[in-house]
């Protein structure tokens, strides 16, 4: 499986990254080398093997639905690149 610079550009868009033409060539080359390397996984027989997404056999860890302390608004906003009136500011989207 090989990926073309156009496909790499599509993946970059999905990941919200942008590259120059030169960078795109370079990343396409690296990705192809890595994809070639990981292709060896296709040799492993995994028929009937349940995928393992996590080392622990746990699911849906619940706690009591009670009020706990949380970050104060000003602390949550302290690192914001742009803020106004207790809110994060982003470029206009509508």
């Amino acid at each position: 499986m090989r990926i073309t610079p156009d496909e790499a550009a599509h993946v970059a868009h999905l990941a919200r990254l942008s590259f120059s033409e030169e960078e795109l060539q370079q990343y396409t080359g690296h990705l192809n080398a890595i994809l070639e390397y990981v292709a060896q996984l296709q040799q492993v027989n995994t028929d009937g093997v349940e995928p393992m997404s996590h080392p622990l056999a746990i699911a849906n860890v619940f706690r009591q639905d009670e009020m706990l302390s949380s970050l104060a608004n000003e602390n949550a906003l302290a690192n914001a690149p742009q803020k106004d009136d207790g809110a994060f500011v982003v470029p206009k989207i509508i």
Partner: protein, 487 residues
Amino acid sequence: MSDLTRLSIKELHDAYRARDISPVEVTQAYLERISSVDTKVKAYLTVTGDLAIQQAQEAVRRFESGEQVTPLTGIPLGIKDLLCTQGVKTTCASRMLENFIPPYNATVVERLNGQGAVMLGKLNMDEFAMGSSTENSAFHCTHNPWDLSRVPGGSSGGSSAAVAARLCAASLGSDTGGSIRQPASYCGVVGLKPTYGRVSRFGLIAFASSLDQVGPFTRDVTDCALLMNAIAGHDTKDSTSVAGKDMDYTQCLQKGLKGMRCGLPQEYFIEGVQRDVREAVERAIAALKDMGCEIVPVSLPHTPYAVATYYIVATSEASSNLSRYDGVKYGFRASEYANLLEMYKKTRSAGFGPEVKRRIMLGSYSLSAGYYDAFYKKASQVRALFKRDFDNAFNACDVLITPVAPTTAFKIGEKTADPIQMYLNDIFTIPVNLAGIPAISIPCGFDGNGLPIGVQIMADAFREDNMFKAAYNLEQAVGGIQNWPEP
């Protein structure tokens, strides 16, 4: 006393109790050493001198007032710069978080504070913990204290170098595919990756959440047990941390290994392992045999697929975890953009370094429509086979003994051109993370260039007791390290 920085945690604690020395003197000794030696090693990204003195004074007060003290009260530590420290810059060695000041502490940091430990500063690493050499730090490379032209390993290279160069008494790091054990091996210190779920990940800046685990770097096995006692345990803020498995790790440090079964996985003793490394590990195995261990040959047949499996699983999780860096809530934001989409793209492209972008690309590709089954799902199935391999092995033995890395520390710049060569360096450490089991690296000798070699001891999930027992006895047998480097 010029040698305060040579004392182990245990020795410091005994001396504090006896009022022979004070935490303030020791903290000052470390801060002085940081100002003279760290210009060469470059282990720290941030030194918190004033805070450290303040915490040391508080420790003095605890000792003098007869208040409760613990083995870590007044002990000067370094913290990898991906553990959130309230009010202290936490950069993950990335431009993206260059000015990020967390509004809360990671649970492990909170626990150390509760014990009265002293924080000397934040330690360098590969950006977002992605790398095996600390060369991917956005700020600077850390140098190996045994040979400044070589890497300290990675991604927790600052944490290992600082302990070896006596720039802190011990440190914390994180291990996703070997990021504690490999740098520990390269720097001749003890490094432990605990069982997945033993130590809270709350406040650990995520790389690959199903693999990441926090652990200690120390100069001996006893100190490692002391740090584990402080940081391990269930945390309601991390739903993957496990309750009811606590133990006193110092109780595992018992002499005698008679009857312990040590497994040697044949797939770890292969061509391509540096001769000095193989011989040092073989000497460690002989020492275990002399102490009455039964040596059992075992097989972990999927080992050759470790790197391929890991680079799909870890990058997939990373691409998802790192989507949070969008220039909105915290961190870097590009200065010029026409709309929201452009803001995201310019922010992320300028904020992340090349290796991080490479991994986000691979992960996004593996998870994208049409490729998910061939990549992420397939890798997750092979991952299950790794777990099965270990389950079978631990039916036949109590611990597994292997090399940590195929070679000793390599030269700075030697492997940066070829990502796959760099990745292959992690082949012996990755399987442990895939299966979620614990493993420790302890020093077991030196190569012809005087560079330290580590041996890895793995145990079944939540069986750190076996691992500590083997490590403690092996350390006694091979002698540990007495002559720390003077960079």
